[in-house]
């Protein structure tokens, strides 16, 4: 099973992605200086993580060619992220539910 076959990603796409990443970086730095938590508790960290995930996705999909790659590659990426999510969310679930009442 070959990876992205003969598909060569053009430098134009790379430059476009690079520009987007620059913009997102500046945006996240600026957003950190705005008190978003006043609107919704935790909005600052949510925005920061969403922006970071957008940036990471652009790097994975285009710089790492995942967009053009075989299904198997996409599955590996998804599994890695999913397993990290298991570890994070189930552990945080423990901490989050410590204060819940037991009936």
């Amino acid at each position: 099973m070959s990876e992205h076959a003969e598909h060569v990603v053009s430098p134009k796409i790379y430059l476009l992605i690079f520009a987007a990443l620059m913009v997102l970086t500046v945006t996240t730095a600026w957003a950190a200086t705005v008190d978003l938590n006043a609107y919704f508790m935790g909005l600052n960290i949510i925005v920061a993580l969403v922006i970071a995930t957008c940036k990471a996705s652009l790097v994975v999909l285009f710089f790492m060619h995942a967009y053009y790659s075989a299904k198997r590659t996409k599955l590996i990426i998804i599994c890695g992220v999913f397993w990290l999510a298991i570890m994070l969310f189930l552990t945080m679930g423990d901490y989050a539910t410590r204060s819940w009442e037991v009936h």
Binding site: T91, D94, W100, V102
Partner: protein, 557 residues
């Protein structure tokens, strides 16, 4: 048993992987997966022996209520070092690194694994990690329990924790590299015609194991690294006095260490799936279900870790969730047991040594697995957590299951690996001795646990003595069961009867090449056009509905 057709006398092949080159460098610098398997065999046998010595000392010490042999501090070190040696340096590598390494390329029709040099590096990483741990054992020992709970391990213990966790950290990379190697090999190196659903279940089991190696081991690596850093630089991640959190350590630790137990059992299940059809002369029942259950165990196994933490302070709701998930993970294991049993039904069963181990596995794994469900029950666990019930449970799985699988596999593939047959009668005696000794050692421990004897204690109330003495007596019988194979396997390499390519006979690509195989595994790349476990249709092996099956060859016929 059907008519005995005496097998022709075989001679050893002229050229094979054991005589393809000579000298210590040809072994220490080999990239041949079959030789690397031998390197691992030497390593795991060493650590098994070391762990066994610690176990013997524990059992002797527990002959009397106040302890017979060692001080309380030394006792803590004994059970810790027993656990560390056995789990990280014997059980986790054993079947994958010895049998997996040897067999995976042969079973899929490849010349070697995808990354042979990485394979050798894995072994050196294993040995390096082992050296660090041996150094720790020799210079102060280890008294934290193999679970390294903080802050005892990271702050207060006076034993050689830092070199030990660094050694286990290093060893983790051996697992990771092996997992990557196996996964890639199974994906890309299969011979023409070897589709996923023609693969032996041993391969499916190792693929599932590789998933756990890949996704779980990195977490224990970083966790133990943090413990080492905390200990050396007095950081505070897991130390309450500095604002740290010991439960966080436990989450990180068990996130790997629970799936680790599936690393220890899945390969053994793969071995059983190979042995049962061979000695029942029947295709395995429910191939797809067994393959799917291996993957399910690997996946669901990552969702249950905090059942080790029911009593250490996690939230009640988390405990409920993990308890339910722990019951779920038992289902695919049960599927396997049902399928193996259904394979035996109306089979033409012969009780050769590998089959004795496989049958023993089914029964003992059943007990071990079911008692796991006892422990997963929250209400019951409050009473039996940290008692001998837990110890009995996991030894039924680790020893009654994994080690019996390992020994069964060693016996089953010994003729392929060495070209020689082991003496069958002695081997059966050893298997039965092991089974009896094992049950006598660990059966009483269930009762001790229910009666309330805590684990990791150097002494106990006098009313527990009878069961403890029984357990120690069992351990001495068990030891004989382990020593016998070490003796006759060694004997057989020199003096054993020549086995020929397929002594059982079994289907499976590894049996179509010489015993021992040539260095390149196959003279011609095989093209696979048959289904696995086709025991009803292989007249060429004496296996067919119209042909009386060949009896397995024995080393002492």
């Amino acid at each position: 048993m059907a008519t005995t057709t005496t097998a022709p006398a075989y001679t050893m092949p002229r050229d094979h992987y054991l005589n393809s080159s000579y000298g210590i460098r040809s072994w220490l610098l080999t990239t041949d997966h079959k030789r690397i398997a031998w390197l691992y065999l030497a390593g795991v046998t060493f650590f098994f022996t070391l762990g066994g010595i610690f176990a013997a000392m524990i059992r002797i010490h527990l002959l009397v209520p106040n302890g017979l042999l060692v001080s309380p501090e030394t006792y803590n070190k004994l059970f810790t070092m027993h656990g560390v040696a056995m789990i990280f340096f014997f059980l986790i590598p054993s079947i994958p690194a010895v049998l997996g390494n040897f067999l995976i390329p042969l079973m899929i029709g490849a010349k070697d694994v995808a990354f042979p040099k990485l394979n050798l590096l894995s072994w050196y990483v294993y040995i390096t990690g082992g050296c660090f741990v041996l150094y720790a054992f020799a210079t102060g020992g280890l008294d934290t329990g193999w679970t390294f709970y903080t802050p005892l391990s990271s702050v207060y213990s006076n034993s050689a924790v830092a070199p030990a966790v660094i050694g286990i950290f290093i060893n983790g990379f051996s697992s990771i590299l092996t997992g990557i190697n196996f996964a890639v090999t199974i994906h890309t190196m299969r011979a023409p015609g070897m589709t996923w659903f023609r693969l032996p279940l041993f391969i499916w089991a190792h693929y599932a194991t590789s998933i756990i190696f890949i996704l779980g081991t990195p977490v224990i690596a970083i966790t133990l690294l943090l413990v080492a850093l905390e200990r050396v630089f007095h950081l505070g991640f897991f130390n309450p006095a500095l604002g740290g959190d010991p439960i966080l350590f436990q989450h990180l630790f068990w996130f790997y260490s629970h799936p680790a137990v599936y690393i220890m059992i899945l390969p053994a299940m793969g071995v059983i799936s190979e042995i049962i059809p061979t000695f029942a002369r029947k295709p395995i029942f429910g191939y797809t279900f067994i393959a799917a259950s291996s993957i399910s165990i690997a996946v669901i196994g990552f969702f249950v870790w905090a059942h080790h933490m029911f009593l250490t302070g996690e939230s009640t709701y988390a405990a409920l969730a993990f308890s339910l998930l722990s019951y779920l993970v038992a289902i695919p294991s049960a599927v396997k047991v049902f399928n193996w049993t259904a394979t035996l039904y109306k089979g033409s069963i012969s009780y050769d040594t590998p089959m004795l181990y496989a049958l023993g596995f089914i029964g003992l794994f059943l007990i071990g697995g079911l008692t796991g469900l006892f422990l997963a029950c929250l209400g019951l666990d409050i009473n039996i957590h940290d008692t001998y019930f837990v110890i009995a449970h996991f030894h039924y799985i680790m020893v009654g299951g994994a080690i019996m699988g390992y020994l069964g596999g060693l016996h089953f593939w010994w003729p392929k690996i060495t070209g020689k047959l082991y003496p069958e009668f002695l081997a059966r005696v050893a298997a039965i001795t092991l089974f009896v000794g094992f049950n006598l050692t660990f059966g009483p421990q269930f009762l001790l646990g229910l009666m309330g004897m805590p684990r990791r204690y150097h002494n106990y109330p006098p009313e527990f003595q009878v069961l403890n003495v029984l357990s120690t007596a069992g351990a001495s019988i068990l030891a004989i069961g382990y020593l016998l194979p070490m003796v006759y396997f060694t004997w057989s390499v020199r003096y054993g009867k020549v086995a020929g390519p397929n002594p059982w006979p079994a289907t499976g690509l590894e049996w179509s090449t010489d015993s021992p195989p040539p260095a390149e595994n196959f003279d011609v790349t095989p093209v696979v056009d048959w289904e696995p476990y086709d025991y009803k249709n292989r007249a060429d092996l004496g296996l067919g509905t119209s042909v009386a099956p060949l009896a397995p060859a024995h080393g002492d016929d």
